[in-house]
Symmetry: D2
Subunit: 379 residues, 4 copies
């Protein structure tokens, strides 16, 4: 179950302190220019040690592409890649060999497999997401050619939230601060909170928001393969994620159908619209017969019946606070005795800044996969 | 993409106004007694026309099992089943043949496939979930043998919420009212709201909560197959669902790691516990060596690193208000002209009461699938 | 594992003496006219009781399509179908409830599942192939639109073989005799042999040959999904099949590379060909730049590197003699005691005549699936 | 489609002249000792340059395991591995950049993907099978613990055949000669033929036989997942394979059912057997109730109804002669012009000696996968 996707498939391997993290991208269309600098840049966005807000652990995380390209063009063959692990202080973990760290996967892995790699969490480490970012970067390079864009940002840290939604934000500002929040003032508050929490040896959660733009109508499958179901599964498979919503999400449950229904209107208007309450906010799209229309709202979040309707797809992902604390914690060891652990590893007080590219990567792979599947709807 | 699951697999077919809804359950373990009354009873829980809160459309929805059993015992062979469609007022839909109903799948299906079954939404109709309930009922019969239980209930309708969580509710009361809320007083308020909304020709959303109890440690797979990712995908694939969360979910993002970490403590205690702030709330479990332990909290929601830890798994699912309104709506037709639709079909003002068994069904299939996969962890 | 295919997927269910045989075709392209007469006709070709060479068991085997079509056009939604079982002499099997018939699946099913449907072989009955023929008929309707044709015929029964290969046969004659051999003289010999064997209460095996014509270049995937690997798996999954070969097959192993290499030559010729030993036998094809070429031979069987090269794909499938004899046989019962069985069911002395449409059906589904997958090679 | 298997899954990548060949083994049970020397030894069996019968190309083909083990024990996590390509004479292929070598995948890849790696055949090179041997070696280490063994050998080269079947051969002699034929005298003849063919700049095909012993009853799935269908697909996916048969295979089609039926007899005998014509040849097995039985023959090849019956599983695989000749050949180039190629690469005159471990590897993975799936037959 280390493979993600149906036609565009990412298979991953690797533990925190093994020789390497890596994977195989299978089903990538042929003829795509594989810009290695772009891929490396995406990895750099999730790299530890990139700012004072993240873990001090420094790893170069250089990706090596091993196959599937010829003169930088994809050949349609599987793309193997690895990122060597470096800077491993495995010794830091010696005293964790026999204990279950609270709220980590130590206990569940041990019982499930009868054996676990205690060093840095082994496979349960967030280093596993390196492979996702590589796969997602390749997907993004494909999506670019189709004019599809995936953007994510830190929308909330603890109780500091950026209240404006994506239509009122300049998402090009996201990368301009360490927190990856496109509202500079809110970003500053978030950074202050993270540093405060870090100073207390504690951790904090938050919400990453994202939006997919440029999707054609028709992505996603009716029953179990609804586009948002695939998107949700993708997000929920990221470490520390506890919730996913799209469109109006949980907040929308208090509304009436009459408030939430999205409707189309001919464009240009056929007559003076009787209903002036909602201005069409979307650009003009066209039916197969060439007739124009506009959406008057997007409460549905760009998906109806599980299938993209051509409007932007906004979503939100909840991250719990990191389980690794820089303070003593009581727990039990493998024999069931009470022990107190004194962690010495290097960890993030808040995963959100580094998780932004991971969220984008997962979304990009979902959309590209849906595009490939949708090519088979007709003979 | 009409197949759900990896080893326990449900493949479904059928439209609202076709000849029949049905499916195939493949991978059901051999030797399970297939209690047909139980399966039919589950179907009756989602049946239309069961109360004044649901659509007036009445269908018997009798399931016929076509294969895979011998003297009521599963043989390990695929279980085919059908539910004939009856009481179809296809004529009700004639004037919808050429229009896109707002926030329905009419538009997306039409553009994706170039053809659509306009009668009752075709494949996008909630009648598709009949097959899920049958598959889920079969899964439940398997889970019963393992002492695993899945319970769901209506937790919120519009802004009427049942604030108590499952640990403080008597879930045996869920089926005692039309709303399927185990708090009778809140249920009454919900019912009143639904009837009020119905009277206005409008619809309303809500939240269904669920809890899975009795899971062994070890269900779920580390990377993309995390138990909650599978659970989330399952829920998000149900019509009208806009969000999924488990454990502390979205609300938990404001908390610190020190507040959310779940830890185990030896049981009986080895000494007087220094930390009295949290009483162990869970029953005693045992390590492979026989030593007892208790969990002091369950913020994680029974899953750590994507794998069940033996604690209950609580989750919540957000449903938007139904798109079909009993009032005129403006939209466009297939040619892009403005039209006003006057729906005459029979529809639910609120899907939640009937969606409760669907949520349970999907959860049951996810858990059973995870159990089967987990059997292959060791040789 | 009752699902076949990757994008065009057939899921089947049903036992010999259950209520119905059926299945779901998922991933069928939208917009295909589903000619029900054609599907029924394909079923009639495999129907028991169609001639003196087959079992006397008579079943109408009428297919009912339950979903996925609108005005006879596929909607892109799953196509559910059933064929009711009739004319069941279940009583015929009462004395087989506790015995393992030699070379049947009785023993292996019993040990694997701990329970088996002894009536007519249950799921191991060749009635399971009804669903394959329906799925294959739908695939054929799709392939027709692309000019792709799949034809099979009885090439050998016992030691009576039709020595001519497909290039020297008039395949339109296949359906003109009960054996389904396009050489009328050989067909007569085969029929005589089958009747002789039948008279002895015995059974006989044979070989079905097939050829796929009209494939574009590019079907099949390089590594594990080679077109002939998929074709072989499809054929080997049919009851009683013991071998598969394509191109020169087993006989070709004695040849040299210099004898078997297939090469292309410009067409029209650029100069007088130096090598006159082999005349180009194939029609002219064209490279992307419009330049013509011809193949000088087809030893490869239309597939190179696992991918179709545009030439016809000939293959052969070996069927063992049916295990059910109309004579007493010694065996053991479920308790391990020696018993003698006296079969009374109605069975085919030779499966080949009725297996011809099954072979075609499986090949058609493989090719259509490969076509859909190949649509995703480029963005 | 570069993933093989359902639960024990091998995903591979790599081209002949890329940076590395590699793969990911997912679903390997936890707790298996991963003997790296054994894995390397399997690779050495397929390594080029190992004898005068194979290509002169020398590559160390050292495998590096990157993940999934802790102290040499599998952890249940995916096992990533790579084998660096060395000794690449890519220059050898410069003049092949623009031509389609006869009977290679050059043409089909070029048309399918619009781009191809012309160096050494790229992905279509037999170097791809390195990953299969690694995956197979890991599967073998698992099977060993269950007493299951997979053995293959060169049974025929050109028209030199080893007529004795496995029951009359000492398979421990297979590795004692370069050809990998357990009959030393025949091996000598085969070697002579291969050298003769090599001297002529030509190539030759042959047949590899194999046998799987020690399988429990119950492996394989009834319909499409029949054990021999999976085995056949596995073999047919190996480069140059043109046919697969098991049990009596193609030769058996001339026989009667009364000759081929395999039956069980109580053991020890309950009375003097009336039928003395066939001595039980198999060891005593036992029913669930403890009663002994023996098989009187094994025409079925150890599989009935697609499911293993506990008897050995013999099979045969046909390999065509290698397409690369050491003599000039006429063909066309990418523009469709006639050209003559003068190959200079280093190639095998006969693939069979080096293909023996590949056949074993594929069989081992199929059997292990079937074992894991079979663990889920019961709850």
């Amino acid at each position: 179950m280390n493979t993600f996707g149906t036609l565009f498939r990412l298979t991953t391997f690797g533990e925190s302190h093994g020789a390497a993290i890596g994977g195989v991208v299978d089903g990538c269309p042929a003829g795509i220019e594989l810009n290695i600098d772009f891929i490396q840049n995406e990895l750099d966005r999730r790299r530890p040690g990139q700012s004072r807000l993240t873990t001090a652990r420094k790893e170069g995380d250089r990706v090596e592409i091993l196959s599937g390209v010829m003169d930088n063009i994809t050949t349609g063959q599987p793309i193997g890649f690895i990122v060597r692990n470096e800077n491993q202080h495995s010794g830091d973990y010696d005293d964790l060999r026999d204990v279950f760290r609270p709220s980590h996967a130590d206990f569940t892995y041990y019982i499930k497999y009868g054996i676990r790699d205690h060093r840095g969490g082994g496979r349960s480490s967030a280093r596993e997401t390196i492979s996702r970012v590589v796969g997602g970067a390749i997907a993004k390079l494909c999506l670019r050619q189709l004019g599809i864009d995936v953007k994510a940002w830190t929308q909330q840290v603890g109780d500091i939230a950026c209240e404006r939604d994506w239509t009122r934000l300049d998402l090009s500002l996201t990368e301009q601060n360490d927190v990856r929040c496109p509202d500079p003032a809110v970003a500053q508050q978030m950074a202050d909170l993270i540093l405060k929490v870090k100073g207390e040896g504690d951790t904090i959660g938050g919400i990453i928001a994202g939006v997919i733009t440029g999707c054609p109508v028709g992505l996603g499958e009716p029953a179990f393969g609804k586009l948002h179901a695939q998107l949700g599964a993708a997000m929920l498979s990221i470490n520390a994620v506890k919730g996913f919503e799209y469109g109006e999400g949980f907040a929308g449950v208090t509304q009436r159908g009459s408030q939430q229904n999205d409707r189309q209107t001919p464009w240009p208007p056929e007559e003076l619209p009787a209903d002036n309450t909602e201005e069409p906010h979307a650009p003009t799209s066209y039916l197969p017969n060439g007739k124009g229309y506009r959406w008057k709202s997007n409460h549905s979040g760009g998906i109806q019946g599980g299938i993209s309707n051509g409007q932007p797809i906004p979503f939100r992902v909840a991250f719990k606070p990191v389980a690794t604390l820089l303070r003593p914690q009581e727990t039990i060891d493998l024999q069931g005795h009470a022990v107190t652990i004194h962690p010495r590893g290097r960890h993030d007080p808040c995963v959100l800044p580094r998780a932004v590219p991971i969220v984008e990567a997962m979304a990009a792979m979902v959309v590209l996969d849906a595009i490939l599947i949708n090519k088979t709807t007709h003979l």
